[in-house]
Symmetry: C2
Subunit: 153 residues, 2 copies
Amino acid sequence: MQVNYINPVLDSLVNVLGTMAAMKVRPGKPSIKTEQSARGDVTGVMSMFGPAARGSIAITFTAPVILELAQRMLRETYPGINEMVVDLAGEITNMVIGGAKAKLEEQGHKFDMSLPTLVAGANHIVMHKTQGKTVIMPFETDYGSFFVELCFE
Amino acid sequence: MQVNYINPVLDSLVNVLGTMAAMKVRPGKPSIKTEQSARGDVTGVMSMFGPAARGSIAITFTAPVILELAQRMLRETYPGINEMVVDLAGEITNMVIGGAKAKLEEQGHKFDMSLPTLVAGANHIVMHKTQGKTVIMPFETDYGSFFVELCFE
């Protein structure tokens, strides 16, 4: 059940952004995604493979949030999304999913992780091709919002 | 070596689009991706996991190509990219990678495949976060171009 994955991902995300960027994140209420309305500017996608389930996780940042994170984590002010910023989104995706994987393994869910694939482009949408449902987890910061999509078979 | 994966993916792609859509595809010369210049409008991303390597494959369509494929495969004329068209891109990605997987298994390379994740958005770029290199394979059709990116550790 993908509901088991929600808290480990949420905890890991709050922990990574708090520790690495001193950014406070306010998690919203997770819900089943019903329309392709969530849009962002940079997305990191990773797949997880385990004996019991396979799934994919996407973290989609809006430009103001990832640019603020770049300022805090790389100490650089960029006027817009460039290769360094996309790379940082990949690094964050990797750390968040890696942290969630460690928590899930403590609970007996063993997984392999894929390499992150990054997508950059203004206002893109992400969809997951699966029989299962997609859970969307919104997050608010002082700089705008971002969201995580979680999709497991 | 990711060079082993090039021909199975290429053959599978030409086969799927030829069989399912009667669309002739002219493969260009694969090359190592050096800049983030390749842009598209719909991308399907899948990961492959094997004992020897893990990697990701992205198939990125420009709008004219995927809309023509929708006309041929779904017998529907859409004015632009909608959920049906994105779903078709996911289906094609699944079939192409599934065909490549079968060929690779014949050669002794066993893999698991992830679920496809789809991205829609005008002129987006795809990047792969890896130590390895990314191979970009361009394809031409009478309706425009599209490309496959292949990235293995």
